[in-house]
């Protein structure tokens, strides 16, 4: 991580999991810049949205969905899970580390679980924020 820079995390979440205000409180005081994208259902988290979050500078992207079997729209969280798995493999393929993207199931309305989840993801990517990727010398140069 570059000195003084905040780690940027984009959180896509189903509005049935928790409200945006709750999640802001969960991350208060952290050296983390959180950006929330509220979705009426997690199934709307298209693969290109996840990639564009990284393009916009996110060091990590977290997708928070309802527990399996508890999706209001039956299978939305399962679709989100499949899509996240696919994008993780794509990130690995392009050398970005799929661990930067993670999906977690949260009990509806319980935002207290969001903070440890975000910390867990940050711990995984803590030594390689995306900001450093663009600082690498071009291929073939020292």
């Amino acid at each position: 991580m570059r000195n003084g820079s905040k780690v940027k995390v984009t959180v896509f979440h189903c509005i049935n999991v928790f409200s945006e205000g709750d999640s802001r409180l969960a991350a208060k005081g952290e050296n983390v810049e959180l950006k929330f994208v509220r979705l009426p259902c997690s199934s709307l988290v298209k693969d290109v949205f996840l990639l564009r979050a990284f393009e916009a500078g996110a060091d990590a992207v977290v997708v928070l969905v309802c527990p399996e079997g508890a999706c209001r729209y039956v299978e939305g969280n399962l679709r989100a899970k499949k899509r996240v798995q696919w994008v993780r493999s794509l990130l690995d393929e392009i050398g970005m580390d799929g661990n930067r993207l993670a999906l977690f199931n949260l009990p509806p309305g319980d935002s207290s679980d969001a903070k440890p989840i975000i910390q867990k993801v940050l711990a995984q990517i803590g030594t390689t924020p995306q900001a450093e990727l663009s600082d690498r010398p071009p291929a073939g140069q020292a």
Binding site: D47, V48, R52, I94, M96, L133
Partner: protein
């Protein structure tokens, strides 16, 4: 439809590497339906390429466009201005689309972003299966609408091999036995007598064995 799948990113990166301005051109027909080269896939490919080049410390400008069909000149014409702005085109169309583009835009490098695999159908969500070999001599009326040329692993034309089990092919347990399906279908249609018709060995001259095929419709020529 023509079914295709995207090439691995490593291969695409290698194809695109010599260029700094690339148009990713999708096709809104077959490859869109099989999730290989429609508008959504173009957007994902563009984003993934930008990120991949950023990881490598390189710069690339990626433009996105999708036309209705890349295999027809009247549809690809609309991509001309975007092609003029870029050094190369990464086409997510089938091989016919890529070649139609290459014929139309003679001075622009055309890079294939997908592997064209077969003529098939969406059997169930996420599963595409080959149904037609494009052999040029269709006998589906005899076989109740199920093609043993394509769907029988042994390409048997005069009855099953006897090796299938529970309706599955002995070559691959994931594949339905084409002859099991043919007999079920002909039974339902009351056309089992069709199987008394001897089918001679396939004349492959109507297929690719005689080189690239042509279809000429004189009635469409003035």
């Amino acid at each position: 439809m023509i079914v295709a799948e995207q090439k691995p990113m490593a291969e695409i990166k290698e194809l695109v590497a010599p260029y700094k301005k690339v148009l990713i051109l999708g096709c809104g027909t077959c490859v869109k339906t099989c999730f290989a080269g429609g508008e959504d896939e173009v957007a994902v490919m563009a984003s993934a390429l930008r990120l991949a080049f950023k990881v490598d410390g390189k710069e690339i400008h990626v433009e996105e466009q999708t036309v209705e069909r890349q295999c027809e000149d009247e549809f690809i014409q609309e991509s001309a201005p975007a092609i003029a702005r870029n050094e190369a085109v990464l086409s997510l169309a089938c091989g016919a689309g890529v070649q139609a583009m290459a014929r139309r835009f003679k001075s622009t490098p055309l890079l294939p972003g997908v592997n064209t695999t077969f003529i098939g159908v969406l059997e169930k969500p996420g599963l595409f299966t080959e149904e037609c070999s494009g052999c040029g001599d269709c006998k589906l009326a005899v076989f109740g609408g199920i093609c043993p040329f394509t769907r029988c692993a042994k390409k048997l034309l005069n009855g099953p091999c006897g090796g299938s089990q529970n309706g599955k092919c002995e070559v691959s347990a994931e594949t339905d036995c084409a002859w099991h399906l043919i007999i079920e279908r002909l039974t339902a249609l009351g056309q089992m007598d069709n199987l008394r018709t001897y089918i001679p060995p396939k004349n492959w001259r109507a297929s690719l064995a005689a080189g690239p095929r042509r279809l000429f419709r004189e009635d469409h020529v003035i």
